[in-house]
Symmetry: C2
Subunit: 475 residues, 2 copies
């Protein structure tokens, strides 16, 4: 996670999380910024149960008595209005849709605890949901699971100004099995995709909940170490003549920018063509086979500018980079980041998108993109690669006019087998959720899958927590 170190948290984080608060009904903030979702006239998303071979497990259905009980636990926090339930039933990519009829909006750990106790007794399935910005269908119901929204759990409970630690309430410590990964997800998203949270590892079993995607419990509070806001942020956007030069630029960067390097992203020429075509964003540099976005964050603007200056001089002089531009003012910084951040949106507008989020040895990272272009030929509209180089994280996307089983057959299991051959991971940062649960075996040995299953049974014996997610369906 080196090149995406935690950045300073914006001041509003200390006041609460806008967007999360009250935004469950109609997506604002992050969703609007990502430019997706719910435009009037958008075609209806097919129901997940009709599109995928998945069968409802024998959970109970919500009764009038259940609703009355929920109303007692969370007065005024029980949503059953079908219109208000439309958005939280559909994932951000608009390809999955559940048919939940109830959404609950607790404010405290105790309320979450009471809800889960009731659901456990009644054998009711629960789908925890935070910002609903997931990429693998982990945050929306598959059938009629109760949506447990953490949108109102948005208070900063306390803040230590010396250590920079907001601390969770006592309540959270007392209810270890009731915890908010989805609030964490909201926080992460609100803070920006580039902020990587490094949870302090607790050697007591509760670390299990990190990354468990709501299948083991609901995280209701997190403690985050907040660095000081950097005084200077610079972004450089560069054109590279080949992928070897992208790698060499990254190595050089780590040496010359060291402690101020806060992001290193790459994208290929097709990504740039697509953000140009569909979003009318103009490239700020000459056309190149690859582009690199480098961000620095530091405490001294002069020092950072000097380091970046030396680096750019070296990179241009040695031919690693053929053209580049730099930004320090916020408006231009945002503009450069948009070229990278809005690729997903451009791809969505290009057609049906087959999405892969792979972790690979950096040296082989782009080989799979070239391999697929040759393999698919004219069957694919576009094959693109971009991502977080420092993490070895490739976003591999293939677009086509429409979904086609034969194209899917050409992609899978090939992509997963290729990844396994490199000892890579079939899910780098998007998680597993609904979409990737049946391909976990390509990067996890059977013993690990068995361990996951055993932990699930231990913590959620009835399997009511986010069913149909994360764990392989055959398990």
């Amino acid at each position: 996670m080196l090149p995406r170190r935690p950045l300073a948290w914006p001041a509003w984080l200390l006041r609460g999380v806008p967007g999360a608060a009250g935004s469950w009904g109609r997506p604002v903030g992050p969703l609007a910024r990502r430019g997706c979702c719910s435009a009037p006239g958008t075609p209806e998303v097919p129901l997940t149960r009709e599109r995928y071979p998945v069968r409802r497990l024998p959970f109970s259905t919500v009764s009038k008595q259940d609703l009355a009980a929920f109303e007692r636990i969370v007065p005024g926090g029980v949503v059953t209005d079908p219109e208000a339930l439309q958005a939280p039933n559909v994932d951000w990519l608009r390809t999955l849709r559940g048919c939940s009829k109830v959404l609950l909006r607790p404010r405290t750990s105790e309320e979450v605890s009471h809800i889960l106790r009731h659901c456990h007794e009644r054998n009711l399935a629960v789908n925890p949901q935070g910002g609903n910005t997931g990429m693998v269908g982990g945050s929306v119901p598959v059938f009629d699971e109760i949506i447990l929204s953490t949108a109102r759990m948005n208070r900063v409970l306390s803040f230590h100004s010396v250590s920079g630690k907001p601390v969770p309430p006592v309540g959270a410590q007392e209810s270890p099995l009731v915890l908010v990964e989805f609030f964490l997800a909201s926080v992460c998203w609100q803070v920006g995709e580039r902020a990587s949270l490094r949870p302090q590892v607790l050697a007591d079993g509760t670390q299990l909940f990190i990354g468990s995607e709501g299948t083991l419990g609901v995280i209701t509070a997190v403690s985050i170490l907040c660095p000081h806001k950097p005084r200077a942020v610079n972004v450089a956007f560069l054109g590279c003549p080949g992928f070897a030069e992208v790698l060499q630029t990254f190595s050089t960067c780590k040496g010359m920018l060291g402690e101020i390097l806060s992001a290193f992203e790459f994208m290929d020429a097709v990504c740039m063509q697509l953000v140009g075509r569909h979003l009318h964003l103009a490239s700020p540099v000459q056309e190149s086979p690859f582009y690199v976005l480098i961000e620095t964050s530091g405490s001294n603007a002069g020092h950072d500018a000097e380091k970046l200056g030396h680096f750019l001089e070296h990179a241009l002089g040695s031919g690693l980079v053929t053209d580049g531009t730099m930004a320090t003012d916020q408006r231009k910084v945002k503009m450069l980041w948009a070229l990278r951040e809005r690729i997903t949106e451009a791809l969505s507008r290009d057609g049906y998108v087959y999405k892969y989020d792979l972790s690979l040895p950096v040296e082989r990272l782009y080989d799979i993109v070239n391999d697929l272009r040759a393999r698919l030929g004219p069957h694919a509209k576009h094959v693109v690669g971009y991502g977080h180089l420092g993490d070895g994280n490739l976003h591999l996307n293939v677009t086509a006019e429409a979904f086609s089983p034969s194209l899917l057959g050409a992609l899978e299991p090939h992509v997963y087998e290729w990844t396994a051959g490199q000892q890579g991971s079939v899910s780098a940062e998007h998680g597993v959720g609904f979409r990737k649960r049946d391909v976990l075996g390509y990067s996890k040995p059977p013993e690990v899958l068995q361990l996951m299953q055993q932990l699930k049974v231990l913590l959620d014996p009835k399997g009511i927590l986010n069913p149909y997610k994360t764990l392989p369906s055959q398990a």
Copy 2:
């Protein structure tokens, strides 16, 4: 963990871990450096089973057949020589002693796996051991557990020069329940106590093993992200007039040194007196109530010196700091670090040491030291406080001429109750091991302890892995 960011790994790490290799018999390297252990004429350490109220669980004892089986699994790696077994039976603090009669030295994950399978079948208890530098008795046997040494598992399996990632072998992936926290411990120690490893969290259950102290499995390989070696390292050693000023210096530091701040340590005046008296280390600054050690690590010596200069000017000018010295050359840097790092050794020479490693809100961090001085009066020889301020980690130590049950009664449970009252943790970085297992309840709720117990039963149903450690004995 902010102020102790991972530093660059020294070149030798890439070649293997000296000291770990072949050093299990007689401690060299880290142990020698810490200046403890096995000097000729040192009095014998009492057996743990005679000093503490602990009963051997009904495990089998090692037979000739077992030894023959081990010899087949690890040819040449079975140690039964009583002299060679003396050191690995005694902990680094020389207050605990087991009576193990066998030490095994596997080289591969497969060998570890075969050993554990045999021990499981035969109901033989196992004590995994790495550098044996633990502070809580987690790494030495309590009775006759087989010592499973990871000293020979010291190869760097591969290294990615672009990403800086050494990768574990396929074997390690295939044996998830056989993993090396103790090798990790060795690595950490060899790299230096200031290096904090941030393991990338795996959302698959294997993250359980981090911090499990060998009670759930044996970690046989780790993957570490290696930052570039910093081009410049500076250390400042400062005197502060009070603890409020120590806190303010830390805040100021985080703002002005930001990304280059790699360590922030504090110690009180008594610590300085003790390293002076027992180790003849002279204070480089005027006598002060508190001292602070600040380390910076960066990629540009000029920039770092300028930042540090500005900071020191501000700290001296505003009265936060009353005197200070700075070092850039390696010899003086080491000398300044020794003042902080050798406190433990000075305390050992001062008499019997009651040791506490607490995690507390920084604002209240030193209150417990003042509280204890008033509470204990002349019953204690010295009460000192030092530690890693950025982590809220206080090393609270009380010395006396000899062990005394009445002094222990004045300290415990008072220290733990006080810590619980601050929502602190009774173990910050030393772990739980043998010493702290029965006080875990002061910082973990019963549900968490129960979860730990359930996970133990799930992964180690016979309880053969590092028994008498980490989990409360009454559980």
